[in-house]
């Protein structure tokens, strides 16, 4: 799993490549924590190369959806693969995230 983080104007663009599972979720959290509550900054999670997510990954996403707006920013998930979207649908997460 690789994470790349880039700043683009007022938006933080985070791209996740690979699997987000119980093994590597701690690494993802470590990368994302410093940037997740920068006041007023929006965040886009580019999921185009996110191949797999388990409940550990969903937990971190939920945390982001609680924290980013809490700091005044908007969180958007983009380009999600259909298998990942299915997991979001199953868990009701599709209705609590902005998915583009």
């Amino acid at each position: 799993m690789e994470v790349s983080i880039n700043k683009d104007g007022n938006k933080t663009l985070v791209k996740i490549v690979g699997r987000l599972d119980t093994i590597n979720v701690a690494d993802f959290e470590k990368e994302i924590t410093p940037v997740m509550t920068e006041p007023g900054r929006d965040m886009e999670l580019d999921c185009s190369q996110l191949d797999y997510i388990s409940s550990s990954g969903l937990r971190v996403f939920l945390m982001l959806q609680k924290r980013v707006p809490g700091a005044g920013g908007k969180l958007v998930l983009s380009n999600m693969k259909s298998e990942i979207r299915e997991v979001f649908d199953m868990t009701g997460f599709s209705s609590i995230f902005t998915i583009e």
């Binding site: 119980t22 409940s55 959806q65 009701g92």
Partner: protein
């Protein structure tokens, strides 16, 4: 088809589990989306055992057996850890707003959503967790 995998109670063993599921999927010619959901259900079940079944103990075994019986794929996960029924819980209210969604509880919820049947038994000193998926 019958395959058995024995892993240790270490989180890195999840990748061994992934390879096991992938090879079963290939052998049976299962569609990728189904392989992924089996992967997800098994990861949820096995990671719970790795994280909680053997508190402070290392080098303990967890066995995962996969059997194809008629049109069903049956996984039986066995461990000798603390007594724990993974089928309890998972009553997740998926209509709650983000503020009210608790962080936990999704693992067993996903298992129950993906698999057709789940069953837990305590046999002697072993937890035996059976997950069954009907194949199209």
């Amino acid at each position: 088809m019958k395959r058995v995998l024995i892993i240790k109670n270490e989180i890195t063993e999840i990748s061994t589990l992934v390879a096991f599921i992938e090879s079963i999927g290939e052998e049976l010619g299962l569609p990728p989306a189904l392989i992924m959901s089996l992967n997800l259900a098994l990861e949820e079940a096995v990671s719970n055992i790795i994280l909680y079944a053997y508190p402070k103990e290392f080098d303990k075994d967890i066995s995962i057996e996969a059997v194809k019986e008629n049109n069903a794929l049956i996984f039986t996960i066995t461990d000798t850890g603390v007594e724990f029924d993974p089928t309890k819980g998972g009553d997740v209210d998926i209509t709650l707003t983000v503020e009210d969604r608790p962080i936990g509880g999704l693992g067993i919820f996903l298992i129950k959503k993906i698999m057709n049947e789940v069953e837990y038994k305590r046999v002697d000193d072993m937890n035996v967790f059976t997950l069954k998926k009907l194949l199209e």
